[in-house]
């Protein structure tokens, strides 16, 4: 994604038009990340709005060479964590990929990528950790810092997810032909 650094400077100087251009250019990437984690259109829309409102209020703290997309996503993930806390879903849950018997997993496996399939089968908190680790390439200590959990928290979720993939019976059937 090409980002004009001059736009960052204009945003820091309070140029509202530049901020709108920033929204037009970067909001799809931010929204995608939020939606993939939350998997709820209304909640994702609210978080997107909160993200850009907070970003607008804090632009003076930005440096001209800041990676705008990474910064916006970080704000968005913070908002997502706040939403998770509000929803009271920040409990320690065991990762076990949940299989819906009414849904054809084999069809999903054939149509979708494995990663998206996994995301659809885990809880909200686990999705956030998986997204941060596999997509945003956050390190475990960065996830710990963001979520306020211990270093082993994300490690445990990742290892349990990987272990759970191997226990998916239908996936086994598909892969075995």
């Amino acid at each position: 994604m090409i980002w004009d650094e001059a736009l960052t400077k204009r945003i820091i100087n309070g140029d509202k038009l530049a901020f709108e251009l920033c929204y037009r250019q970067l909001s799809p990437a931010v929204f995608t990340a939020i939606y993939r984690v939350c998997q709820d259109n209304e909640l994702s829309k609210d978080i997107l709005q909160e993200t850009f409102l907070t970003a607008y209020q804090k632009v003076e703290k930005l440096k001209p060479d800041t990676n705008m997309l990474a910064w916006l996503k970080r704000v968005a993930f913070n908002k997502t964590i706040n939403a998770i806390k509000r929803l009271n879903k920040f409990g320690d849950e065991d990762v076990e990929l949940k299989v819906d018997p009414n849904h054809s997993i084999s069809q999903s496996v054939e149509d979708e990528r494995l990663f998206l399939l996994i995301l659809s089968k885990v809880t909200l908190v686990e999705r956030l950790v998986l997204w941060l680790y596999f997509v945003e390439q956050y390190k475990h200590h960065e996830i710990a810092e963001l979520t306020g959990k211990s270093l082993s928290y994300s490690k445990l979720i990742i290892s349990r997810t990987i272990a759970s993939i191997k226990r998916l019976p239908i996936l086994g059937e598909v892969s075995n032909g």
Binding site: K16, T32, L48, L53, E110, R113, L117, I162, G172
Partner: protein, 175 residues
């Protein structure tokens, strides 16, 4: 986007954990590609824009409220300070006026007694002169009006004693 289904790409049962993790990271990275991005909901920017306006006006009115509150507090404090000063000045002025008028009346009384004394040919009682001299010395060394006033009152009393000696009762010395 890699549209191939996973069954033709990966066999999770036979893949070592580390490799499976690597595979998921690759798929995760693919999620960042532009073609995988979702469209933002329609009307989102309009809502953000209207909220931005609210935030801006909210911040301004909050600032104005704080400013007005500060001004009100300051003006209250100034009013109280001015009132207290006015009362103190009034009280001091009144006390000073009272003292000056007392001093004036005592001085007049002293002059009148002095005049009366100089006209009279009455013999002075023992210690009259020394008392008067002492009081005059005290008067010269007096530091403030109040002190002077007290000395002059004593002086007046000495003259009174000299000019109007206390008469005893008719049978005081009778046998």
């Amino acid at each position: 986007m890699d549209s191939k289904n996973i069954s033709s790409l990966v066999d999770p049962y036979s893949m070592p954990d580390r490799e499976l993790e690597r595979y998921l990271i690759d798929q995760g990275k693919a999620e960042l590609e532009l073609v995988n991005q979702l469209e933002t909901p329609v009307g989102s920017w309009q809502e953000i824009e209207s909220n931005l306006l609210k935030v801006e006006t909210g911040v301004k009115s909050e600032y104005q409220q704080v400013k007005t509150k500060n001004i009100t507090a300051w003006s209250k404090m100034l009013t109280i300070a001015a009132s207290v000063s006015f009362i103190l000045v009034g009280l001091l002025s009144w006390q000073n006026y009272k003292l000056q008028s007392q001093l004036k009346s005592v001085l007049v009384a002293n002059y009148l007694f002095e005049e009366q004394f100089s006209k009279s040919s009455r013999t002075t009682y023992v210690g009259f002169s020394s008392e008067l001299v002492n009081l005059e010395k005290e008067l010269q060394s007096a530091k403030n009006t109040e002190e002077k006033l007290n000395i002059l009152i004593k002086r007046k009393a000495i003259f009174e004693k000299q000019l109007n000696p206390k008469k005893g009762v008719s049978n005081e010395f009778s046998i």
